[in-house]
């Protein structure tokens, strides 16, 4: 099992959700996050005074899947979240040790 953690531009969330539904992924968790990468921040203006916004809003998706789905999932997310402009985000893949579905007590492969 793997946990795919993708940080994407917020307005791409719907695209990505539809795309991963199409390949049969049945669940994900979304978190609103802030951060910076190469895009860095930008300056904003309030009542004549400029200020630096260092952390930009992004959306983070956490998706637990079987090993055989991972490669396809990463491709699909990359495609759906792509704009070609700086700040498109990143995808991280972790090993997932264990999973439990709380309602039924099902474990691991059956739980995701």
């Amino acid at each position: 099992m793997k946990l795919v953690s993708a940080i994407i531009k917020p307005f791409k969330l719907d695209n990505v959700r539809e795309a991963i539904s199409d390949i049969g992924v049945e669940g994900l968790t979304v978190t609103e996050v802030k951060g910076f990468g190469r895009q860095k921040g930008h300056t904003e203006l309030y009542r004549g005074a400029e200020y630096q916004v260092d952390f930009l809003p992004k959306v983070k998706l956490d998706i637990a899947v079987q090993d055989d789905v991972v490669q396809r999932l990463v491709e699909v997310i990359s495609e759906a979240a792509h704009t070609g402009k700086i700040g498109d985000g990143k995808i991280f893949v972790y090993d997932l040790e264990h999973a439990v579905r709380i309602r039924t007590g099902e474990q691991d492969a059956e739980a995701i």
């Binding site: 904003e44 009542r47 005074a49 200020y51």
Partner: protein, 421 residues
């Protein structure tokens, strides 16, 4: 028949006063929303508490002694509860200029209309000292301003009394229709005294002289507050005609509504365009301040300008307010909502523009009046703030300011999370 028409005129002018008073009361909601929108989320509950409490204190203090000091209306308004219709009708018949003569209305409606102005003056203060002043020191100051400082100033202007028995402002050609100076600049003078003793919010000005932005938490709320104030202002200026019940007066009321609206619109537009030129961006908070500046500037005389003049005055105010906000920041006078610029600087501008359209006023009279109001309110407020500072302190601790005064003063947050529900 004539007696019945007088009865109706009394009823109409009383009713008009009450409706306008209710509109001005609603400005308390406008100030609350504007201030809640322009402070940070962690100080929202406290600024709302201040706004509700200051309104209530203003009403109580004006009822107890303020109205008596300003207009001789009796301590605790004694005697206001009775009316003798026969005497009222006799007053109507005795009026020299007959039906179109000066308004006669219920004394209770007059109190109600006047009391909401007191609250407006105090609302101006709460925005300027936001995010760092102790709640109870602020409320203590509110008691003094609304009970004594403002009523004494009002007794010299609208009350017609001589200033310390020395000179009478109305005889010098001073004219302030609905209170650009008497209400707005007075509130700003009290606010300025408080801000000077209080100091800037932590982090607003860096040691190297940089001015840091502290963005407001909720601009939809600030915009709603501005529109509420804009609407309430029709009562503020329109009611100050004091009479609706004849052709000349009702036309005057209509002109006041028209000019008030035109000045606000022109002020918003001028600030929008000026901010775009100056900062390359359409800064919404400046546009909001521009609309309010238009309203403040026309308040000194909304009945005599032509619609074009009213629009020009509003536009000038919209530009002046932006320049004033930037200048105050350079002087390190931290005013989170721009109250001192909107109500003080532009209030003064409004007074000085009156002689252009109103021949009954003079520029000397306006200057002396403005100086009298400012010096009196600023000096007495400074003394009260200073005494409060020495006795109980007026500023919250550094930790409390960092955590937000919602928690330290009110014990609750405006937008709670993880509450278990």
């Amino acid at each position: 028949m004539e007696q019945n028409i007088f009865q109706l005129q009394y009823a109409m002018d009383t009713f008009y006063f009450l409706i306008c008073g209710a509109l001005v009361m609603w400005m308390a909601a406008g100030f609350s929303m504007l201030e809640a929108g322009l402070v940070r989320a962690k100080n929202t509950t406290e600024i709302l508490t201040k706004n509700v409490a200051l309104y209530a204190i203003a009403c109580m203090m004006y009822l107890c002694i303020g109205y008596d000091i300003m207009y001789g209306g009796g301590i605790f308004l004694s005697g206001i509860e009775t009316v003798d219709p026969a005497k009222v009708l006799a007053d109507f018949s005795a009026r020299e200029d007959g039906f179109s003569g000066s308004a006669i209305y219920s004394a209770a409606s007059d109190f109600y209309f006047q009391v909401v102005f007191v609250a407006t003056a105090m609302s101006i203060v709460s925005g300027a000292v936001a995010e760092r002043m102790k709640l109870w020191a602020f409320l203590a100051f509110t008691v003094v301003l609304t009970g004594v400082i403002y009523p004494i100033e009002g007794s010299w202007t609208w009350g017609g009394n001589a200033v310390f028995g020395l000179y009478t402002l109305s005889e010098l050609g001073f004219s302030d229709f609905a209170g650009s100076g008497i209400v707005h600049m007075a509130g700003a003078a009290a606010a300025l005294a408080g801000v000077l003793l209080l100091g800037a919010r932590k982090g607003k000005y860096s040691a190297d002289g940089r001015i840091n932005a502290i963005p407001g938490a909720n601009l939809p709320m600030a915009t709603l507050g501005t529109f509420i104030l804009w609407m309430g202002w029709f009562g503020f200026n329109g009611g100050s005609v004091l009479k609706l019940g004849d052709i000349a007066s009702s036309h005057s009321v209509a002109m006041v509504f028209l000019n008030t609206n035109a000045a606000a619109a022109a002020g918003a537009l001028a600030a929008l365009i000026f901010a775009k030129i100056l900062f390359k961006k359409a800064d919404l908070t400046m546009v909001l301040n521009g609309a309010l500046a238009g309203l403040v500037v026309i308040t000194a005389e909304p009945s005599t300008p032509t619609p074009l003049q009213a629009s020009l005055f509003g536009a000038i105010a919209g530009i002046v307010v932006v320049l004033s906000i930037i200048s105050l920041d350079k002087l390190k006078i931290d005013d989170p909502v721009g109250a001192i610029s909107v109500h003080g600087v532009v209030g003064l501008l409004g007074l000085l523009l009156v002689p252009i359209t109103n021949n009954a006023s003079t520029i000397t009279g306006q200057l002396i009046g403005a100086a009298t109001i400012f010096v009196w309110v600023f000096v007495t407020s400074f003394v009260v703030w200073f005494v409060l500072k020495k006795l109980v302190g007026i500023r919250v601790s550094e930790d409390e300011e960092y955590e937000g005064v919602d928690k330290s003063d009110c014990g609750l947050e405006a937008y709670p999370e993880f509450t278990g529900s």
